[in-house]
Structures are given as structure tokens and as C-alpha cells.
């Protein structure tokens, strides 16, 4: 009976692991290479759950408290989804692009007003001739900024277009 209860307890626990210093080092090496985000720019606990998604929690939340809550309550959701490890790099989440806007120094794509609107509606961005020259031979993940200096998300540049990752629920409607 106790074994069954323990098994059920484990089943209902939220599945995540807290990133250790080696994991963090690797993650920030990629974040720094792509976006210029250094480990010293981000304070807090980092966890990784399903689909290799990394989440950030306030530095005041200790691993002990987190584990205690996970052991005793049915947790559904932790902190903020900030990035996902993909084969070809680290993809920043829509909201992390905004959260880290002051420390992102690399891979910034300046979208014009038409592109910004299209982007926020969920469409991919097609580069203009001028942009094709500027971003020649560049590919990978980019943070998009509009003409009002607002960060509007993160996408992936390849073949002169940027794939849109704006979540469906956050898209502008006509």
C-alpha cells in the first residue's frame, strides 16, 4: 500500500531539474554567444522541464523550498519560460526577449513598421533588399526590435526570412 502511495506521489510531481553550475555555464555560454547575455546578467534559479525548456525563478526561491512544495503540492507551473535548447542554438522565449532587453547586445533585428505588424500577427518576416545585404551570410536566432525600441519577440533567420515564434494567444488580430 505504501509503495503504491509513494508511486502515485511521484507520478503527480512536476517533472523538472534544477540546473547545476556546469549546466548553467553551458547555457550561458550559448546565450552569450548568440545574444550577449552573461550569467552575471541573470540572477535566480534555473530549472529544466519537458521539451528542454528552461525556466527562471526569483533568486529568493531556494531549491529546498521548491522541492518541499513539489513534494507536498500538485505544482503546475514554475517561474518564467525563458529559453529552449535546440539543435542549432538557444531559442529565447517571447517574454524572455523582453525581460532581458537591456542586456541583449547581439543578434538584434530591426524590423520596420510593416514587418513589426506582420510579425505580431504571427507571420514570418521577409527581409527587404537592404536588410538582405546587411544580414548577408547570417542565420540563426534573432531578437526583433521595432522602431519604437520595443522588443517584439525572437525568431529564426534563414533564407532571407525570419520564422515567427509568437505564441498564438499573443498575436495581434486584424
Amino acid at each position: 500500500m505504501i509503495i503504491v502511495l509513494n508511486f502515485l506521489m511521484v507520478l503527480k510531481m512536476l517533472n523538472f531539474r534544477i540546473l547545476n553550475s556546469k549546466d548553467r555555464e553551458e547555457l550561458f555560454s550559448s546565450l552569450n554567444d548568440t545574444y550577449g547575455i552573461k550569467e552575471s546578467d541573470v540572477s535566480g534559479l534555473l530549472t529544466m522541464g519537458g521539451k528542454d525548456k528552461v525556466r527562471l525563478l526569483s533568486k529568493d526561491i531556494t531549491p529546498e523550498v521548491l522541492n518541499l512544495l513539489n513534494k507536498n503540492l500538485r505544482l503546475e507551473f514554475l517561474g518564467l519560460y525563458i529559453c529552449k535548447l535546440e539543435k542549432d542554438g538557444v531559442r529565447l522565449s517571447h517574454d524572455a526577449a523582453n525581460l532581458f532587453k537591456d542586456v541583449i547586445t547581439k543578434s538584434i533585428f530591426l524590423a520596420d513598421d510593416r514587418q513589426s505588424k506582420e510579425w505580431l500577427m504571427g507571420h514570418e518576416v521577409l527581409l527587404t533588399d537592404e536588410q538582405i545585404k546587411s544580414y548577408e551570410n547570417m542565420k540563426g536566432f534573432f531578437v526583433l526590435k521595432n522602431s519604437n525600441d520595443m522588443i517584439i519577440g525572437c525568431g529564426k533567420l534563414s533564407n532571407n526570412r525570419i520564422t515567427n515564434f509568437v505564441p498564438k494567444s499573443r498575436r495581434l488580430k486584424k
Binding site: 525563478l57 507536498n72 507551473f77 522565449s93 495581434l172
Partner: protein, 334 residues
């Protein structure tokens, strides 16, 4: 001002009788109340200071042609949009999708203005979805400390999660437990206690008739009695997680004393707690100290009743409770 006949047509005589009594039998006051609840509420928003300053947001919104009024000098994040907007326009705006503001009725912002969670504190929100107050707390706490936000419905938690992400909140852990059980469960199994607790409990919603006119039709005394019992249990459970010396807000968006003063009186009678006076940036009326022939603790006057016609808002009830010790049954009884 646009009128909504649905409320006027659906209001039940018993509801009218009770409201008139709550307004001390003042028929003019009641007429103002009736008139007000038949109008649509103001378009109010709260600037998400985790992402943008109130001044910067105001400028952005004004550049779109919106007329913005900041509600009070002490709370520049509270804004009213004075233009007549298309249905859904506030929710569809780019600034909303980017998490620069939260669409929230002013009266719903009051519990956190009374509780004042501070950076670094531990905060427990026992009935958190859809997240208006959780995101407000995160902003007041500057995304630091810890918020445990609980709700018992997976559907509502999805909305809560979406709002937390949109607002860029990093200090929140979301659990799915029955609010009746969570406090007792965690208190029995751990020493974890919170500096501040919000028990903004499910209620009959008499205060939200302006935005939800259909609730007038489903109003009943039976529902009030049923909610009242559950509210007492949720409040008691939440109180267990409050640390000694900590503060808890018990609030509802309803007017009936059974769901408000009766619940707070129950806590005063059964636990070593006291009510704390507080100020809010709008007109409030004191909690009542007698209802249906039953006399309540005299300090219930420190609770705040918010009536729609006093401030052109929805209706609300807010009480601020301090826990003096973990002892039980030391309170006032009558």
C-alpha cells in the same frame, strides 16, 4: 453613459431589500446604486511596472489616440481609458499583448493596495486565477521574493499561467489544490509560512453586476449561504499558512454580509487575529457590525465596503487581518 437593461430586469426583490438595508434604508442612496449597476463599468487598466513605467505607457497609449486618466498620484499605475473603444480593443492592443498592462477593474486592485506585499517577502494567493492580483503582487514585489499562487481548476490555471508569462513574472510557483485543503495540508507537513496571504475567495459576485449582468438572474440566498460556509473554510485554511505577525487580506467582490463580515467575524471568534485599519485611494464605507439580529465584533468597522455608485467602480469588500499567534479560540464571542 450606456445603460444595460439586463440588470434592471433580473434583479430580485430580496436582493433589493437586502441592499437597501445595507445602505441603511436610504432610498436615494439605493436609487444611485441601482442606476450605477445598470451602466457599463469604466475601462480601467493597471500598468505592469515589471515591463514599463506608468509615464512611458501613458505616452505610448496617448500616441494611439487614447485619453488616459491616472487614478491617483500615489498609484500612477492605475489608469482609466476615457475614450469609447470598440469591444475587445483594450485586450487586442499591441501594448496589452506585450504585457505592458493588465485589464483590471479598479475595485479588484484594492486588496493588494491594502496588503502591500514587499520585495523579498513570501506571499500566498490561495485562489489566484485568472491572475490579476497575482501579477499585481509580483509587480509590487518587483519580481523578487516568492509567490505561491493556487487555484483548483486546470482550465483557470492555464489562463493564470498565460497571464504570468505575458507579464514577465519570475517569482511565482503555481499549484493546483483545493483552497479548502491546501493550507492545512502544507501547514501540517512543513514549517513554511508566508509574510502575506491573500484570500480573495470565490463568491456570488453581487459587486460585479456591471460587467456580468447575467449574475443578477442567478442570485439566490441559498447560493450565498453555500458560498459563506466554503469561504470560512478557505479563509481558515489560508490563515494557517500566515506567519505570526503576518497580514492576510480576506476579500470578495460581493456585498452580502454572510460572505464578508460573517466570515471575518468567524476568524476573530476562533483564532488569535485582529483587524487592522487601512486606507484606500477611493471612497469606502465601514464594515457592518450587525446583521440579521447578530452582533459582530466591533472592530469589523475597520473592513472596507466599496459600493459601485460611490466611485463609479464595481463593488468589493476588503478586510486586513493580522495574526497574533497560532493559538485557537481566544477571540471575541457574542
Amino acid at each position: 453613459m450606456t445603460f444595460d437593461d439586463r440588470v434592471a430586469n433580473d434583479i430580485k426583490p430580496e436582493f433589493e431589500e437586502r441592499m437597501l438595508k445595507l445602505l441603511n434604508g436610504d432610498k436615494d442612496d439605493y436609487q444611485k446604486f441601482r442606476l450605477c449597476i445598470s451602466t457599463h463599468p469604466l475601462n480601467s487598466i493597471r500598468c505592469n511596472t515589471l515591463k514599463i513605467t506608468p509615464d512611458a505607457l501613458k505616452k505610448k497609449l496617448e500616441s494611439k489616440g487614447w485619453k488616459i486618466h491616472q487614478y491617483s498620484p500615489d498609484n500612477p499605475e492605475i489608469m482609466i481609458i476615457l475614450n469609447d473603444l470598440q469591444p475587445g480593443e483594450i485586450g487586442r492592443a499591441e501594448e496589452h499583448l506585450l504585457g505592458y498592462y493588465y485589464v483590471q477593474e479598479i475595485s479588484s486592485m484594492l486588496p493588494l493596495l491594502a496588503l502591500k506585499p514587499q520585495p523579498g517577502e513570501k506571499f500566498f494567493d490561495c485562489c489566484a486565477a485568472p491572475g490579476s492580483k497575482t501579477t499585481q503582487a509580483a509587480a509590487l514585489m518587483d519580481n523578487s521574493g516568492m509567490i505561491l499562487a493556487n487555484d483548483n481548476s486546470l482550465g483557470r490555471i492555464k489562463v493564470l499561467a498565460s497571464n504570468l508569462e505575458r507579464c514577465g513574472v519570475v517569482n511565482t510557483i503555481v499549484s493546483r489544490e483545493d483552497g479548502l485543503m491546501l493550507g492545512n495540508k502544507l501547514a501540517n507537513r512543513s514549517d513554511l509560512r508566508f509574510d502575506k496571504v491573500l484570500a480573495d475567495v470565490p463568491c456570488t459576485g453581487e459587486g460585479t453586476l456591471r460587467s456580468s449582468p447575467s449574475s443578477a438572474g442567478s442570485w439566490s440566498l441559498k447560493a450565498i449561504e453555500s458560498f459563506s460556509k466554503r469561504q470560512m473554510m478557505i479563509a481558515e485554511s489560508a490563515l494557517r499558512l500566515l506567519k505570526v505577525g503576518g497580514l492576510m487580506v480576506y476579500s470578495t467582490c460581493t456585498h452580502g454580509p454572510e460572505e464578508n463580515e460573517v466570515v471575518v467575524n468567524y476568524l476573530l471568534n476562533n483564532f488569535d487575529v485582529e483587524l487592522v485599519p487601512f486606507n484606500l485611494p477611493l471612497k469606502t464605507r465601514p464594515g457592518i457590525t450587525e446583521w440579521g439580529g447578530v452582533e459582530f465584533h466591533p472592530s469589523l468597522k475597520y473592513c472596507a465596503r466599496v459600493y459601485p455608485h460611490d466611485n463609479n467602480t464595481e463593488g468589493f469588500f476588503v478586510s486586513l487581518i493580522k495574526k497574533n499567534s497560532d493559538n485557537k479560540n481566544v477571540g471575541w464571542k457574542k
